[in-house]
Each structure stands twice: as structure tokens, then as C-alpha cells.
Amino acid sequence: MHQKPLISRRECMRSSLCGSLLFSGILQELLAEGSPQRFADPLAPRKPHFPAKAKRVIFLFMTGGVSHVDTFDYKPRLFADVGKEVKLDHPEIKNRPGYERIFLKRPQWEFKKYGQSGADVSELFPHVAECMDDIALIRSMHTDHSNHYNATLGMHTGSFAFARPSLGAWVSYGLGTENRNLPSFIAIAPAQTYAGSQVYASDFLPGAHQGTLVVPGSEPVADITPRSATAQQRKELELLDAINHRHQSTRETDPQLSARMKSFETAFGMQTAVPDVFDFSKETDATLRLYGLERSSTQGFAWQCLTARRLIERGVRFVELIDTGSSGNWDSHGDMMDHARLAQNVD
């Protein structure tokens, strides 16, 4: 394990110095295996500790707090006891003007049973409701925090106050990723949610595991659009490679240098691979219809969903979809009917 692969790894690196793109994948593997942890490829795919059914994750996050009693958590008593005054001893509302007397409000939408499981779902989600037999529904969640910020941070990191690595960062850290032309963890968000970038950050895990932000629009991933034409960019990268190789020739034992040289090759590939993800022109009308997406539109949750699917198909380990930002979201206590607009966007 120790002596021999070390030599062969070095040999391999040497042969890849000729700039062969063919070798790049192998180089990654070899760098990952056995080389000092610090310089190993942190994103090389790893086997889980236990056999797993799921290979990749899509995490849909509805900012602002979807009202459970209006959607997936049927409370018949609420319908029966509408208008009844209740006592609530909660520090949040103590001495708060307007909260002297509290009445029960019934959900704005009717419920129906769906599927073999007979899960109760409101009319807000007619399409999701049809799939209830494929969904694991948890109704027992509760929290002792009442702020969006803490709740959002807690949902993503398990920590309500302190910044910690996000769920996607942990998955990337534990399992690596399968397509090195794409990041391992991608967060698709039209606007920043509560607690800002902390929700998709890697915190104390290596920076390679932080979520790459995708913002719907002309440049979904920062710096992905080449500023030079391909032919010119190739010339630049060739010169860079030549200069770097000369620099490295006396410093062969330093894997940092070759890793960085390799990163330019990968980045060059990403410039094609990433826009390809966002190019829906080859999707059929039928597919677009399924997602409720108009051709060439890059707006709305439909675009996010189709993007997520395309990312997952290409081997991205973890994709998170955040539907809205920290305002104009599901925090509809001022006007519950706003849930209809938001639900229509994501259903």
C-alpha cells in the first residue's frame, strides 16, 4: 500500500504533465488514494458505511414556514372549534399587543384522503396529494424556537444558534461526488433565505464541501461564463500549463501544485458542463409540460426542479431548492390566502 502506489502515483503525475486530459480522472483517483489527507481530492466518491438505497439527495426548502394545519396536518378539531377562544401561555405572546385574546382559526382549505395510505392533504397541494403513497410524512416535528432565522439554520445544520456545516456539506464530506465537472453540493435559490449563506456553508468542513449557489438568470453559477472565446481561452490555459509545468518540474513532490494545475482542466470542462445543465432546449415539450415550465423561461420553481433533476442525473450528490427568499415567503400570517400563490408555485 505504501511504497509502491506512491511511486506509481508520482509516475502517473509525471505522465499527466504532458497535459493529457485522458489521464485526469485517474490522476484524481490516485491523488485521492493514499496521498496525505490534506491534499487528497476531498470530493472523490466514497462508499457509505452501510448499504444505502438512495444515491443522491434533492432537498426542497420552503422558506418562511409552511402552515402545517393548512396543508398536510389535518386537525378536525380546528374545523369544529372555529372561533373558540383559547388560552395560550407562551413567552412569545406574553404582553404583546393584539394578543390579549386568542381565537382558533380554521384552515382556509378543505382536506381529502389520498392513496392507499389515506393521508389527509388539503386542496392546496392537489398534485403532491396524488403521490402521498410515495412520501414519508412526518407530523411529529416540533421546536422550541419561534424565529425564522433559528429555525432555518436549525433545519439546515442541526444547530439553532451557532454556525455548523449544512446537511449538503455533510453528505458531500461523507460520500464525495460522482461528476467532477460539477460541484458536489448545489443550492438553487432565487434569493437568500434566512441566516444567509450559512445555510449552505461548509463551516468547519473543508471549503470544497460548501454549497455552490445557483441563481436563476443569465449566469446561474458565478464565473462560469468564459470572458474569452474558447480558442483564445485554450491558448491562455496552454501557456498557463506550460509555465506551471516548468515551475513544478523542480517541485514534483508537492501535490498542491499539480492539484491546482488539474483544477484548471476541471474548470475548463465545467464551463461546458454547467451551461449544459441549464440548457433545456433538448427537453421535449411533454417534459416541460410535466414541470409546468414555459420554454426558455428560467423563472419559478418548475425551472428549479427541472434543473435539480438534470444535476442529479449528472451525478451531483446533493441539490437543495430554496423556493423564496427571506421576504414574500410562506410567512403568511398576515394573509393566509397568500399560501395559494406559493403552493401553486411548488405543487
Binding site: N147, Y194, Q232, Q233, D254
Partner: protein, 1021 residues
């Protein structure tokens, strides 16, 4: 490895949010504590008790059945008490476990249902039953929390002792004692010591190390030529004396103290004064503040300020920003102050002592001798201090900011200013007295000799031309030099009056054909009152308050309601004369049409505009007024001419004199405002003494579950049991203890940091953890030697730099020569210092290097960020503070936000603004490569760099030479020049789509980008 990747304590901390009591060596403990009951020997049962049962008793039972309250006479805090039971008898019957009262109570199968706050879960009930069946084993400890048995003292807790300098076989390599220690170990491992790096490499290494900036090519060349034996010392001294040294080394410290410009609570409030602390740190390095002073001032600067040199008052108060910039948490930050104190204690432990004190918030430290009592001893010290308040969503405004003047100075200054104000007011007195009299006299005299030219009224929303109310022909009015034409606009019944649009033209008939139009005033209304006309006649226009006499409107406004298009002269709210300078309608209290002139009468009377005739002759007068704010009852107008005067002065001269006095008064009042402004004292975001009070232990770190009171102390395991005076928080005593030469940790930890910042790796690889979970030093004797040396130098940081930098160890090559028979392995290079470790530039260094090479860097120190004014803050969790403030200054001065870390710093492993970063990570990811290839910042810098290259010379060869010197500090080889020339030609030829004259420039820009993206630019040998 500490830092990212090595997930150790942090991870566990997060995973086990419930209390997690490790089964430590109970049997040993039990033995130590005296004869235990036989069943208590069963470790497994004890583990079950500690892990599952004791937490339940503590959290669910003891509030009613504990030390302070014994409901039903029952205590559940010791085995004896449980067996003894309360009024109903023994709580546990060992012979019949299921019949035990306790078991029945938790199952609700008897009379009692416990706990009343809500039944236990099935799992919890089972745990208690099992424990009862096991015979209710009990860890014989009197505390509800397990104390760790004493272990062998940690190496880092032992006193610092200077070891002898080892004798080495090689007598020529070592330059100073550091080298002897390093060489000794290399010899023991059979490794040949490295030779010295060449001067170019060395200079580049030193320049980035000490200043964070790329070296001046000329300075490298001078160093290469310098034959003097002290050449290296000269270079080191020069770099240490650079103001950029403090910026680089200050940034290292700012990493450790998780510096940020925002508070980090839900809405991430800005900290507009935090920069003073940032600059204090930079300055402290630049003036070589001894490290013990550096420590003391950060912990207790406010107290030292009062006791010491008054000239250093402000800086010492600023130093406590170290504490004040602690992170705030949650929505209403006062609810979560216990978390902020944890942040303070945790950072204090890591930064000064290399100890993870934060672990003891919920439990005795698992691995290091730090107890919960120690933690809450420190907690009391900080909760007895008053921290500046940054504001948060429910309470937006900051408060408790600390003035940078001592109380004595404040009083002295107030006294001087009060005196000056009194004098000013005395001078004003004459004017204040005479002006109203003169104003009344003027109006009385004017009315005596007045001719009314036009008058009338308009209704709400109406408009009328002056001709409609003409009393005489306005087509031909005779004026003499010194006459006054004055237009009054008066309120009708409602006194509320109205915003009134005024158009008024005075045209000279014959003569020069001049035209005076109030519309001319739109462009420069604030220029003066009296106001010069467009022909340069001084004081032609006057804007008057005509409520009582004729007073000049005294107050000039450059904006109204936040609209800078609206300018005015006014007195209080009304009366006023104002203009809309915009070419667009502007919405204020009403929508004001573009490029127009308005007046607004006062509540008690008219506003007036006067025109002083500068010539003898005839004029024609035209105009109209219009109500532009519906909802009142309209206004009246009166247009009068004043021709003569009862004394020798003309009316116009009387106006001018009054205007002069009015201006003089305005000036005096402006002076008064300046004096008053000088009473405003600069403030710092800092800490002062609060109400001295001990803290109570918070069980499981929960502030709602208070335990016993703990005296304010420092770490007892380090032999410190002294308690501060009753009326002091204890910060001064804490500071003195931290900075004491007998404290075994403070100096060791810092010396290790300095070593790490020079070499990229500490002698102890975990600079924030000198506890038992941290790494042991690779060269313990060297660490002790340096620590002792540092203490004897009087904690002289710069002297320590000199010692390290002049060692052969520091000056070694980083690349093994191709001729070497056995090049050192990476492990030897790293752990034995057999080669100097190559490192990548940090995020700050990359950006600063770009800006330096492109020639755009602004090297003046940064100060405050341009935050919006505090009075307008309304940040929420929905819309938190999220500004960016781009600048060309050095990166240490860039805005650092806590909740929305800048993308650039996230990409290049910048410091974490939320928790102490002892080591910068060094990740290489393709998104960084994308940044170099496609980011606008890189392209813009490369364009500027290309401009410099192009103007440096006219031959490609010399240009390439210039580029190499700038970027790499060396001349290119012949091969490299040829390669460059080939690239440029080839690149330019390939640019078919752009005009030929631009192709060369584009090619040079591409070339510049390549150099700036190369490993040679980014790595330091």
C-alpha cells in the same frame, strides 16, 4: 490536525445535544471516595445510571425534590435520601422494585402521577425501572455532575523551563540556538540539514511573510547586490518597520479573535465602531506593544485606561473591542446573552490559553482539567461587565458605546466648550436684540411709503395672474435704483397656509433689456439670502419672513424629506421659500412640478420675496401664483413697491443692511453648531465595568436551570484560586493572571502562533488547543527555549521575529536540489524542518498582490465603513444588513459580515468571522480556477497590469522582462521570453473579430492574466 477537516470535538458537540456523560473510571473513583455498596461496583449499571437516569433526576425531579425544595419531604439527590424517602415512606423498595413508590409514581399506577410537568416517555420510564431493579446504584459523588479524576498534569501546564542548547555534530549549519534544536533532531533522524535559499526566494518569502505584499523588484535586486554581511538583517528591519507589517500580522490576530464588522444576530446589525479595534490591533503590532500589555489591554483596557497615562486612555478603551465584538445571537439578543458569554469565554480560552473552555458550559471538560465551576467563575467575570450593545431586530439602536475620553477630560472639554458658547452668545446678544427691532422698523417704514401694484386671493387649488388684481398698469412701472418690489403670499383663515407656486418676471423696458425671473433662482437658491441676481448684482433677491416685521429667512436646507432636489430657505417648518431643482416632478408632502419656485406662508402671516432695483428706469411685471397643495382654503397675494425712505438710506440699502446682519447671525449660529458638535465625543464598541455579581451554574448549559452560585474566579486547575475584590468584575485580575510570566500557557501559546505564522505549521500543530486533545509539540525543548527567551525579552514580539527570521531554519531552501542523494520525504520536510514549507497566498494576499501588481492598490489605512446612519436602521431577519462596500484598500480593511460571508473569502478559505480560526485552510477547488479564468475582478486587474507592461517599454522582450519582474520578482529566461513572444503573436493573430489596433493590447491582457494565475505567482517557496 486542527482546523477544518479534522472533525473532533465540534462534531461530537453537535451530535450529542443531550447531555452525554462519559463513564469515566467509576470504580477507581468509588474506591477513592470510601467504601461503596457492593452493587455500585458494577460499572455497567453505573454507566446506565449516569447516562440515562441521573440526567432525568436532574432535569425532571430535583426542582421539587432537591437541595432547595423538598416537596412531600422527599429528596431525590442522593441514594440515601431516596431510600429514606419522604412523608409517604421510602421512594424505592429494593426488595420489591415494581412496588417502589418512585416506579408507581412515574407510571401513574398509584395515587401519584409524576412528574407533574408531563409524564416521562416509555423509554425513560423503562430506564428508571431498570435502575431500580439494579439496586439503584449511585456514583458516590456529591455533585450532580461528574468530576474528572485527576490525571498526570498536561505538558502545557508545567512551568516553562529553559532547556540547555543541544550540542550537534554539524558545527557550521546552525546560525542561532533555534537551529541547534532543529538540527539536533534532524541528526537523530539521520537527515541532512537544508542549505540556505537564494536571495530572491528569501526576499519574496520575507516580504509576504512580514507585509503580505509582493516585493518591490528593485528591493530584491538591491538585496541581491548587497555584499554586506548584515544584508539580511537590514532587509528584516526594513520590512518590520513598514506600516504594512502591522496589517499583515494584525490580520493573523484578527483571525484568532473572529473579527467581524457585524454582530451576527438574526438581522446581522452593523458594528460601525468595531473598526477602531481592528486598527488598534494593526497599530499594536506596528508599535511593537509588548505581548503581555497586548493581552491585558484587550481584557481590561477600560480599567487600565483609568489608572494609566491619560494619553493612552482612548486606545486602551478601544482594545476591549476584543471582548465587545463577541457574536450576538437570536432575535432579541439579551435573551441569548449566555451564548454571547460562551463565545467570549471560548475565544478567550482558545486565543490566550490554547484551551477549549467552551466545553465546560454544559459539563466538566471531558479531557482537560476544566470544571463547570471554572466556566461559571469566568462567566461571572463577563456578566459583571457591560458590553456595548449593537442593536437587534426588536431594539434597533446601539447603546452603551464607550466614550473615548475619560470622565475628567469630558468634563474639562464640556467646560471649555460651554465657556466658548457663552462668549458667542454674548456677541450674538446685540444682534439678537437689534434684529427684531430693525425688522419691525423696516416693515413699518415700508408700509408708510408703499404703493400696491396688485393684490387678490386664490381659492384652494386655484391660480391667478397678477394682472387680475392689478391696481395700476403692470406693463410700465417706474423704478429707481434703491426701490423695492415685494411680493407677499399670506394665509387666509386656516393659518395652515399652502405650498404656492410663484412665477414672477420683471423685464427692463429699453436700456439693457434685462430680465429678472424667480425661475432663475431654481438653480442656486441656497447660494444666499440676500441672493445675487443673474447679472451679478449683489443682494437683488431677498426671501423674507413677513409675519412680524421683515426678517430674512435664516435657515438654509439642501434637502427636504430626504429629497435632495428640493432646496429651501426657511425658519423652522414655515414660512419658507423653496425650489424643485429636478427636471422631474418630485413627491414630498405634495407633488411639486419640475424646475419651479415655491413659497409657503407661516402660520401667523406672510412669506415675502423682495426684489431690489439695481437701476433707474421702467419695468414690466408679470406672473401668477398657483396653489399646488390641495386641501386648504387658498392664499392671498400682495405686490407692493417701496419707493422712498424716511432717512438718508434708500429702502434697498436698509434691506441690504438687515440682510448683512442676518447673515452675520447665521454665521454665529453655524459656529455655535460646530462647538456643539465638538461636544460629541468619539466612541468605541467596547466593554466597561458593570454590576459585580457572581454567576450561578447553568445546568446542562440551560440558563433556565440554575444551580449553585459560583464565585468569580479563573482556572483553578492552573492554580489560580484568588477571587477579585467585591466591587470589581475581576477582569483586571483576570488580565494580570493571563499576562503573568508564571502562567504556563499564555506565552507558550503565543510563541507557538508566531512560529506557525512564519513557518505555516506550529511546533504544536493545534495552536488553539494545548489541552490533552491537542497535538504535543514536535520540538518541546525548542518551544520552552523560545518561550523563556520571549519572557526574558519582556514579551518583545519584534525581537522574537528577529530571532526566528535570522535562523537557518527559516532561511532554508524549500526545494531539494536535484543533486541531493536523498531528498527529504514530505514528512521529514514538514516535521523536521528539512525543507521550508511552500505555501499558497492567503485570500487577502492574493487580492493585495493583484492590486499591487496592477498598480491600483490604495495603501492608506482604512477606517470606518460607510454604514447607513444608525437613526435609520430597521434591519430584520427578513431583510438583514447585507451591504457591500467595494474599495481598493488592502484586504484587511474589507467589510467582514457574519451572516453573509463575502463569496471571495468563502472561495479562498478566508477566516471564519464566527469562530476563532487558528489556521487558514488551503483547499484547491475548480471554482477557484473559474475565478481566475472568468471573474471580472481578475480581468480588470490584468487589464491594468497590461497597461503598465505596455508603457514600460516598446520592445516585446523588455515588456516580458518587466512583467516577470513585477509578477515573480525575477528576470525571465531566454526560453520564457521566446515562449511569451510566441504566445503574444499567436494570440493576437487569432483575434479575427476585433479591430487590428486592439489585438496587441488584448494579447497582453491575456498574457498578464496567465502570469497572475500561475502557481509561481500564487505560491511562496
Amino acid at each position: 490536525m486542527e482546523g477544518k477537516g479534522a472533525v473532533t470535538h465540534e462534531m461530537r458537540y453537535m451530535m450529542f445535544k443531550r447531555p452525554f456523560y462519559l463513564p469515566l473510571t467509576f470504580s477507581l473513583f468509588a474506591w477513592l471516595m470510601g467504601a461503596p455498596p457492593a452493587h455500585a461496583q458494577n460499572t455497567e449499571a453505573l454507566t446506565h445510571f449516569e447516562k440515562r437516569v441521573r440526567p432525568l433526576l436532574v432535569s425532571r425531579c430535583l426542582s421539587c425534590h432537591g437541595k432547595s425544595v423538598q416537596q412531600g419531604g422527599l429528596r431525590l439527590d442522593s441514594r440515601e435520601a431516596i431510600l429514606k424517602g419522604g412523608g409517604r415512606g421510602s421512594a424505592i423498595t429494593l426488595q420489591h422494585p415494581t412496588e417502589s413508590l418512585l416506579s408507581k409514581a412515574i407510571h401513574g399506577s398509584g395515587v401519584l402521577k409524576m412528574p407533574p410537568s408531563g409524564m416521562l416517555t416509555a423509554e425513560e420510564k423503562e430506564a428508571v425501572d431498570l435502575w431500580i431493579r439494579q439496586g439503584a446504584p449511585w456514583t458516590p459523588s456529591t455533585q450532580p455532575l461528574i468530576a474528572k479524576p485527576a490525571t498526570v498534569p498536561l505538558w502545557s501546564f508545567r512551568p516553562v523551563k529553559r532547556p540547555p542548547i543541544p550540542a550537534t555534530h554539524n558545527k557550521t549549519w546552525a546560525k542561532n540556538p533555534i537551529d541547534a534544536f532543529i538540527l539536533d533532531k534532524m541528526e537523530r533522524f539521520g537527515v541532512t540539514p537544508p542549505s540556505l535559499a537564494d536571495r530572491r526566494t528569501l526576499y519574496r518569502r520575507l516580504a509576504f511573510d512580514l507585509t503580505g505584499l509582493p516585493p518591490e523588484p528593485r528591493a530584491i535586486e538591491a538585496f541581491q547586490r548587497d555584499q554586506s554581511p548584515r544584508a539580511i538583517e537590514t532587509v528584516i528591519e526594513r520590512l518590520l518597520a513598514s506600516p504594512h507589517y502591522g496589517e499583515q500580522w494584525g490580520r493573523h490576530w484578527l483571525d484568532v479573535v473572529r473579527y467581524a464588522d457585524t454582530a451576527g444576530e438574526n438581522s446581522d446589525h452593523p458594528l460601525p465602531h468595531a473598526w477602531r479595534y481592528r486598527n488598534w490591533v494593526i497599530d499594536a503590532f506596528n508599535r511593537n506593544l509588548p505581548y503581555n500589555e497586548f493581552v491585558k489591554e484587550q481584557v481590561a483596557g477600560d480599567i487600565l485606561a483609568k489608572q494609566g497615562d491619560p494619553n493612552r486612555y482612548a486606545e486602551r478603551v478601544v482594545a476591549t473591542g476584543y471582548l465587545a465584538i463577541a457574536r450576538r445571537f437570536g432575535h432579541d439578543i439579551e435573551q441569548d446573552m449566555h451564548l454571547t458569554y460562551e463565545d467570549v469565554i471560548d475565544t478567550l480560552g482558545k486565543s490566550f490559553l490554547g484551551l477549549t473552555l467552551g466545553c465546560a458550559r454544559c459539563h466538566d471538560h471531558k479531557f482537560d482539567p476544566i470544571s463547570v465551576k471554572d466556566y461559571y467563575g469566568l462567566y461571572g467575570v463577563f456578566s459583571s461587565s457591560r458590553f456595548s450593545y449593537p442593536g437587534c431586530e426588536p431594539k434597533q439602536q446601539p447603546r452603551d458605546l464607550v466614550p473615548l475620553l475619560s470622565t475628567v477630560e469630558m468634563e474639562a472639554r464640556t467646560k471649555t466648550v460651554q465657556e466658548s458658547l457663552r462668549k458667542l452668545d454674548e456677541e450674538n446678544r446685540t444682534l439678537l436684540d437689534s434684529l427684531p427691532k430693525e425688522a419691525r422698523a423696516l416693515s413699518a417704514d415700508a408700509r408708510k411709503f408703499a404703493t400696491t401694484l396688485s393684490e387678490g386671493e386664490i381659492e384652494d387649488g386655484g391660480e391667478k395672474r397678477f394682472e387680475v388684481g392689478a391696481k395700476t398698469s403692470l406693463q410700465r412701472v417706474h423704478v429707481r435704483k434703491g426701490d423695492v418690489l415685494q411680493l407677499f403670499v399670506t394665509p387666509l383663515q386656516n393659518h395652515g397656509a399652502d405650498s404656492t407656486l410663484v412665477e414672477w418676471k420683471i423685464a427692463e423696458i429699453g436700456g439693457q433689456g434685462r430680465l429678472w425671473d424667480v425661475r432663475d433662482l431654481v438653480e442656486d437658491l441656497p447660494a444666499g439670502n440676500p441672493h445675487t441676481d443673474r447679472y451679478g448684482n449683489v443682494g437683488t433677491w431677498c426671501f423674507m419672513d413677513a409675519q412680524e416685521g421683515f426678517r430674512f429667512l435664516p435657515e438654509k436646507l439642501e434637502r427636504i424629506d430626504g429629497q435632495s432636489a428640493i432646496k429651501a430657505w426657511r425658519d423652522g417648518d414655515t414660512p419658507s421659500v423653496f425650489v424643485n431643482t429636478s427636471a422631474q416632478p418630485v413627491k414630498v408632502w405634495t407633488t411639486l412640478p419640475p424646475k419651479s419656485f415655491f413659497v409657503h406662508p407661516g402660520a401667523k402671516g406672510a412669506v415675502a420675496v423682495a426684489w431690489l432695483s439695481p437701476f433707474d428706469g421702467e419695468v414690466s411685471i408679470s406672473g401668477r401664483i398657483a396653489d399646488v397643495h390641495r386641501g386648504g382654503d387658498g392664499v392671498g397675494w400682495l405686490l407692493q413697491q417701496y419707493t422712498s425712505s424716511p432717512n438718508t438710506l434708500t429702502m434697498a440699502q436698509r434691506y441690504a443692511e438687515l440682510g448683512r446682519q442676518s447673515m452675520a447671525l447665521q454665521e454665529l449660529q453655524a459656529k455655535r453648531a460646530v462647538f456643539q458638535e465638538s461636544l460629541r465625543v468619539p466612541v468605541a464598541f467596547a466593554v466597561v465595568e458593570g454590576e459585580a455579581r457572581n454567576a450561578h451554574i447553568q445546568k446542562r448549559g440551560d440558563p433556565a436551570m440554575l444551580g449553585e452560585e459560583t464565585p468569580r474566579t479563573f482556572l483553578t486547575s492552573l492554580g489560580e484560586s484568588k477571587q477579585p475584590p467585591k466591587d470589581s468584575s475581576g477582569r483586571l485580575e483576570l488580565a494580570n493572571w493571563l499576562a503573568s510570566p508564571t502562567n504556563p500557557l499564555t506565552a507558550r501559546v503565543f510563541v507557538n502562533r508566531v512560529w506557525q505564522w512564519h513557518f505555516g505549521r506550529g511546533l504544536v500543530e493545534t495552536p488553539n488547543d494545548f489541552g490533552s486533545r491537542g497535538s504535543a509539540p514536535t520540538h518541546p525543548e525548542l518551544l520552552d527555549y523560545l518561550t523563556d527567551w520571549f519572557l526574558k525579552s519582556g514579551w518583545d514580539v519584534r525581537a522574537l521575529h528577529r530571532l526566528i527570521l535570522s535562523s537557518a531554519t527559516y532561511q532554508s531552501i524549500s526545494v531539494a536540489p536535484p543533486t541531493s542523494k536523498r531528498p527529504p520525504s514530505p514528512k521529514e520536510a514538514k516535521e523536521l524542518y528539512a525543507l521550508f514549507l511552500r505555501r499558497r497566498l492567503t485570500a487577502e494576499e492574493i487580492r493585495d498582490a493583484f492590486l499591487t501588481v496592477s498598480g491600483e492598490i490604495d495603501v492608506t489605512p482604512g477606517e470606518a465603513h460607510p454604514f447607513p446612519p444608525e437613526s435609520g436602521w430597521s434591519f430584520t431577519q427578513h431583510s438583514p444588513f447585507a451591504d457591500e462596500y467595494p474599495t481598493m484598500k488592502r484586504s484587511v480593511y474589507l467589510l467582514q459580515k457574519r451572516n453573509r460571508k463575502a463569496r471571495y473569502f468563502a472561495l479562498f478559505d478566508g477566516a471564519d468571522p464566527n469562530t476563532s480560526s487558528p489556521i487558514r485552510d488551503n483547499t484547491t477547488v475548480p471554482t477557484q480556477a473559474l475565478y481566475f479564468m472568468n471573474d471580472g475582478f481578475v480581468h480588470a486587474r490584468a487589464e491594468k497590469f497590461a497597461e503598465k507592461i505596455l508603457s514600460a517599454s516598446s520592445t516585446p522582450q523588455e515588456r516580458i522582462q518587466f512583467a516577470y519582474r513585477q509578477a515573480y520578482g525575477r528576470t525571465p529566461s531566454r526560453l520564457e521570453i521566446q515562449e511569451g513572444e510566441r504566445f503574444l503573436m499567436d494570440y493576437a493573430q487569432s483575434l479575427k473579430e476585433i479591430p487590428p489596433q486592439n489585438r496587441l493590447t488584448s494579447a497582453w491582457q491575456a498574457y498578464a492574466r496567465v502570469l497572475l494565475s500561475s502557481n509561481e505567482f500564487l505560491y511562496i517557496d
